[in-house]
Every structure is written in C-alpha cells, then in structure tokens.
C-alpha cells in the first residue's frame, strides 16, 4: 500500500518534471527559432545583392503568388467597402454627417483594414504555399541537391520569393483599397444618388500623406515578412512528409501574428507623430 503510494508520488513528480522540461523546451525553442530567423533574414538580405540575379524567377514568382490571392483580395475588398458603408451610414446619419461617409471609409480602408485584411489573406494563401513548396523541396532533397552543387538555393529559391512578395503584397493592398471604395460607392448609392466624381472627391479629401505613407510602408513590410516566414519555415522543415503540412501551418500562424505586431508598431509610431 505504502509502496504503491510512493510509486504514485514518484510518477506525479516525474510528470511534473516532464511538464517543466517541456515548458522549458518550448520557451528555448521560441528563442532558438527567433535567433535562427534573424540569421536567416541576414543571409537572405545578403543574397538579394549578390549576382546572379534571378529576374525571370522573380517575375514568375510574383505572377504566380499574386495570381493566387488576386480574386480573394479583390472580392474581400469589395465586400468590406460595401458592408462598412452600410454599417456606418445609419450612425453618421444620426449626426447629420453623411457627407463624411466616403472619407471615413477611405481612411479606415487605406490606413488599417485594407493592409491588415489583405496581409492576413496573403499570410493564409501565399505564406503557406511558399512554406509547403519549399518544405516539399527539402523533403525530396532538391534543396540539398542545389546546396551540394554550389548553386546557393537561398538566393534562387528564397530571395526571389521574398522579393516577389515584397512587391506583390503592396500591389494587392492597393487593389483591395480600390475595390473597397467601389463597394462603398455602390452602397452609398443604395441610400442616395451620388456621382462617382463627388464620391471620390469626398473620399480623397480626407486622405493625406500621413495616411498613405505609413500604410504603404507597412504593406511593404507585410510582404517581406510573409515571404520570409513562409520561406524560413519551408527551408528549415524536417525530412518527413508530415513536415510539409507543419511548415505550411506554422507559416500561416507566425506570419499572421507578425502582421498584427507590425501593424501595432506602426499605429504606435503614427500616433506619436
């Protein structure tokens, strides 16, 4: 009886220690991952400036990755504009400020909603696709084959994709913003008859440099990190086939989180300025 109790105690202690070990490993893992990501980022940035430059691969990746999210981004942007206008119209009407509606929609879409929602869509579609593709290349030893022939896969496979997303994501955000304004224009016309010129004049009258510059810079960073995190997760994937799914999954999670963090930092900076 006593022996049994001792055994149970011993097991409980062992379990507790294991949980502690797991927790320690988890936190260590985060810091190791962060450290590796910093080194990886440095290496990728260095590769961006080293010849041979893969212009053709850059254009191909830009087209493929942009195409992948284009329809979703455009439709989401359009619906966001439409819905936001329909929600805001009654509230602004109560204050007799209906004329401000196009400007409010434009500012909220351009400054915040357009970049963040497009960023999240791209994290889901592009970052996961990059993560899965590069992880599959790792599993089938294609990356190893590039490494052993001295062809610097980091430059060909990773740098071209990171560059492509850095260019493509801001373009997608601009498209999302444009279609959201179109959606807003249609929604405004449900309540009153407004010309497109008047709507756009009212929308752009409230947009200034302070809205456009940080928003654009933010989207460039979103694009960079979406490509980088997807590539990092794929490049450091394990050897088994299950690592393909894991890479895609963690690429989405980490890039989505990164988008929110970058957004928060930009909001803090712009609010101070």
């Amino acid at each position: 009886m006593t022996k049994n109790r001792l055994n149970v105690k011993h097991m409980n202690l062992k379990q507790k220690l294991r949980v502690k070990d797991d927790t320690r490993n988890f936190y260590n893992g985060i810091f190791i991952d962060l450290g590796e990501l910093v080194i990886f980022t440095g290496n990728v940035i260095r590769q961006l400036f080293q010849p041979p430059f893969e212009h053709r691969e850059l254009v191909k990746q830009g087209f493929l990755l942009g195409n992948k999210s284009l329809a979703l981004v455009v439709v989401t942007g359009f619906i966001m504009g439409l819905v936001l206008t329909m929600q805001m119209n009654p509230i602004l009407s109560d204050f007799g400020a209906q004329t401000l509606l196009p400007g409010v929609i434009a500012v909220s879409m351009v400054r915040e909603l357009g970049p963040v929602i497009t960023g999240l869509i791209c994290a889901g579609k592009i970052s996961s696709a990059i993560g899965a593709e590069i992880a599959a290349m790792r599993v089938t030893e294609q990356i190893d084959a590039m490494e052993v022939s001295g062809t610097r896969p980091l430059s060909y496979v990773v740098a071209s994709r990171v560059m492509a997303t850095t260019i493509v994501v801001p373009v997608l955000v601009i498209l999302a913003d444009a279609f959201s304004l179109l959606g807003a224009f249609l929604a405004v016309n449900i309540f009153e008859d407004t010309s497109i010129t008047l709507f756009m004049n009212r929308a752009f009258s409230m947009l200034g440099f302070i809205d456009l510059f940080p928003a654009t810079l933010k989207t460039v960073l979103f694009g960079f990190f979406i490509g980088l995190i997807g590539s990092y997760k794929g490049y450091t994937a394990g050897r088994g086939t299950e690592s393909v799914g894991q890479s895609a999954n963690s690429a989405v999670v980490i890039s989505s989180l990164t988008i929110f963090v970058i957004d928060l930092i930009f909001v803090l900076i712009t609010s101070i300025l």
């Binding site: 041979p52 190893d144 084959a145 022939s149």
Partner: protein, 244 residues
C-alpha cells in the same frame, strides 16, 4: 608511383542526440578510384557522404577533400569545393518545376555565369549523351521513370565536370536490368570523365561492376576492406553473407 589522394578522412565522429552513428571513420580515396561502401540500412553510410560535402556537420575528426579542410573552411571555399564534387541522391532530386534541359542548365548558369547559349547547349547535350538520354531533353521530371530520373540526375552532376562523385544508392528501387545499366554507366563515367567515386550500395551486382574496392561498414565503423572477389570468398560467414 602512389596515386594522388582526393579524399582523406580521419577519426570522423557523428551522433544524433544519444545515437552514435559514425564512430571514428578513417577513409582514403585516390584519384580515379571507385570505392564501394556496403552495410545494413541505417548504419550511417549516407551520413558519411553528407559529411564529406558538409550537408551534415561532423562532431569531430577531419575531412580533407581535394586539399580543402571541409570541417573548417568558410562558405565561399565550401561552395567552390562543392562545384568539384558531384552528389547523386537516392531519389535523383531533380527540380520538379524545371524541364530536363533547365535541370541541367541550372547549375551551369548559377555557378559559371555562362551566358553563351551555344556553349551551354553543347554542355547539356554532351552530358545527356553520356547517360544515353538525349531524347528526354524537353521532358519534365514527372514524365520520367525511376531509372531515367537517376540518369538525368547523373547528367546534371556531370555537367559541372566534377573530380569526385558520391553515389548514394544509385540502383535502389530499380529493376535488375536498369540497375545493371546504371552500374555500367558509373564505370563508363569514370573512364570518360576521370572521376573518383564513393558508391554506397546494397546492390552487390552494382558493387561488382562499378567498384575497385569495397569497405564493409558495421556499427559506425569499417570492419573490412577488399575487392569484390576477395570479400565474397572471405573466411568469415558474416562478411560472405553480404554477398549472397
């Protein structure tokens, strides 16, 4: 006169966590020599070849390849060395988004900055002719059989004119006829390109055709060395068993 040494490994150790894979490997490969490494699965044969090109970092020991210390050399030196060492992966590792032509062009374009179309075309055709697959030049890897993939991967290795080739189970997963052809091809390549090679294999027919000497690996160490004929008639049953 003693032949030039192209690979020299001394006291190489490698562990993965608590599992000791390589336990003090010593190996010397001479110019023009085809050395076979035979042993059970999972005893570290592939780990050894991957350590040679530093795809896997060794824990301790020295690896000297073509006069370069692989363990301590920097990234640029390693890249330069890797251009002189070909590696044929088990599955071929062809780039599946590229055609056969692009697969062969890729290492040339990335390492030698060759822009003249005429020169690269000639290089590609010569390599494909060496492996007897000139007809497959415009095919995609998904359209190729296992044997064809290995041949194309070999052609891709040859295009950089390596001085050493590391073959990781070149005949695994192939039928007897095709694996015989690949083994003959390894011999032909040695004669045509004057390469030295390490051939990891379980296929004794391949070992007989393609190697000069064979080393048997057991529990992370080499236990014996000899020609196919010597080892297959060994007095030890354990060694003879590998050749059944």
């Amino acid at each position: 006169m003693e032949k030039e040494i192209v690979i020299e490994i001394e006291q190489l150790y490698k562990s993965f966590r608590e599992k000791h894979i390589l336990k003090g490997i010593d190996l010397t490969l001479h110019k023009g020599e085809n050395l076979g490494i035979v042993g059970k699965s999972g005893i570290g044969k592939s780990v050894l070849t991957k350590c040679i090109v530093r795809l896997i970092e060794a824990d301790s020991g020295s690896i000297n390849v073509l006069g370069t210390d692989v363990v301590s050399c920097d990234g640029e030196e390693l890249n330069e060395l890797r251009k002189k060492v070909g590696y044929l992966f088990q599955g071929g590792a062809l780039y599946d988004s590229m055609s056969v032509r692009e697969n062969l062009l890729f290492p040339v374009r990335r390492t030698q900055f060759v822009d003249r179309k005429h020169d690269t075309e000639e290089l590609i055709e010569r390599s494909l002719r060496s492996v007897g697959l000139l007809d497959a030049i415009d095919k995609m890897p998904s359209e190729l059989s296992g044997g064809m993939k290995k041949r194309i991967a070999l052609a891709r290795t040859l295009i950089l004119k390596p001085q050493i080739i590391l073959y990781d189970e070149p005949t695994t997963g192939l039928d007897a006829v095709t694996s015989g052809e690949i083994s003959e091809l390894i011999q032909q390549i040695r004669e045509e390109y004057q390469t030295a090679a390490i051939i990891i294999t379980h296929d004794m027919k391949c070992a007989r055709i393609a190697t000069d000497t064979i080393r048997i690996m057991k529990e992370g160490q080499f236990v014996t060395e000899g020609t196919y004929e010597e080892l297959s008639c060994s007095g030890e049953k354990e060694i003879r068993d590998y050749f059944i």
